[in-house]
Symmetry: C2
Amino acid sequence: MSPERLVSDVGEFALIERISRIVGRSNAIAGIGDDAAVLDTDGPEYQLATVDMLVESVHFDMDSTDAFDLGRRAIAINLSDIAACGGLPTVALTSLALSPTMPLGFVESMYSGMKQEASRFHAAIVGGNIAKTSGPLCIDVALLGRVPKPELVLRSGARVGDVLVVTGVLGAAAAARLEGRRAQMLTMVESTSSLARVSVPEPRIEAGRLLASLHFAHAMLDVSDGLAADLRHLTGSSGVGAVVREESLPVSISARRVAPSLGCAPVDLALFGGEDYELLAAIPESSVEAARHALGATPLYEVGTVLAPDQGVLLEQTGGKRIPLPEGGWKHF
Amino acid sequence: MSPERLVSDVGEFALIERISRIVGRSNAIAGIGDDAAVLDTDGPEYQLATVDMLVESVHFDMDSTDAFDLGRRAIAINLSDIAACGGLPTVALTSLALSPTMPLGFVESMYSGMKQEASRFHAAIVGGNIAKTSGPLCIDVALLGRVPKPELVLRSGARVGDVLVVTGVLGAAAAARLEGRRAQMLTMVESTSSLARVSVPEPRIEAGRLLASLHFAHAMLDVSDGLAADLRHLTGSSGVGAVVREESLPVSISARRVAPSLGCAPVDLALFGGEDYELLAAIPESSVEAARHALGATPLYEVGTVLAPDQGVLLEQTGGKRIPLPEGGWKHF
């Protein structure tokens, strides 16, 4: 008899695949595995719905976490999923698993952060739930949104020849996370607060709306697992191949600074680091300049090209050699 | 300087009150503190949204929990919130904090239970999130629903003279929970499985729809914190008083059986036990018979009467003496 299989034996993506099969198909336009569930309504808009949870000791440490920023982050990572569909957020519900010994001030400050981040995008917190736990703090946010039906963008629409663009630099979150962890391990620091501080990604709501409403983006998602992993989600859903050009990657300054001491290349942090929450979109080459103009101050970096499916998913190294894009990214199990 | 205040210093309801003030008002018809958020839409229906979390060691124990039933319960307690508004469920999103060492079979069985319970009411699971944790399993479900605008029922509509009704017996969940806990403490049992087994409440979706769509219910909520606490939610929201008649309370057989060994009166389990997930509604006296007829096999027990606000919230003891209804119920902190 084989030993009982554990969650860690199959990993996150296989687990989601199995759960997908169990819960079965629904009327949703997009469901499990997409950034947000897309629900048909009678009106001119689709409804969007997403959930994302932050867990203490996994996504943040209490010692080095500012409660206000933590609240902002809990909302921001959900906003990012709505942005990836080209939508606008509407309302959020928050669910906490909370220890009775948690300082009241921490909880209040966290909600102030949630409120501020939601308000920036005219979203309201309309409900929630608080449960007791003896374990780590868990913050789960459910966020609803909306998008005009003709403007919905999914992961699945990329076309051969499209340019792959990202809306900001990559690797900064990984650099902060890994340097914070290293500093903790070495216990060498007087203050790690600026390093291990929970980061608040900038939700690309406006950029997502523009890329969607102006019909630039054929496919879009947010880079949460790392560019390499998320690109595979996009190519897999779209049934295409792709090439990413190493020398075009917008590697963050902090990733360049930190990488040597971590014993990796800066580009590794950009490709595999994750938690950047920038948008990755496939847009026609003829639209790139117009899209860049429309986005104004938000950057649009060209990082690669969509290829035919038989070409696979490739990394073009500096010098021009193309290799299969290594697997990697931020897997949870 | 006073020591830092903790969550446990203020308790659940005061904490929710504080959070309410922080997140502020929204356009929602009903929000924090109600069973579900009620969102206006352009169409003929309101949208409903609710979240509810189950936490290992607080709401269930892994040792004595059947994964399938746990999944059903996670959905059922959310369905109950939709039922309390008179609505029908539409879609659910599920969020887990999960240990990598969790058996895969447990997770799959839990999702099968979620799927089955949702399907009973034609609701689909359309998305979710899985996060790693080193702590207790947390299962958070966000459930959306809908209700025709003229049929929405809130906690706040009770009128003086209304009859207070509940849709089933009370105290069974508390009896099972407390007897299971006692058995564990005494370690006297060969098998507690039938006692401590996670219970799956019957979501009163159909009864809620009927009481709402036939305009019987002036106010409604589900009894999750215990009849005494939830009645106070109803009277507080409605700005009324009420009297509950001890001898009219539909105390479950198991509560009657278990109470003596727990050193309490059966009626205490019904009033303060919580987790019954029956509906408590205020309906005009002239509608009671018609409502009972409409509900068919679902019982409708008359437990009291809505009074003027200055009369307070009272318990009429056997014999006719009226006393202030004792505070109590299932508080989380």
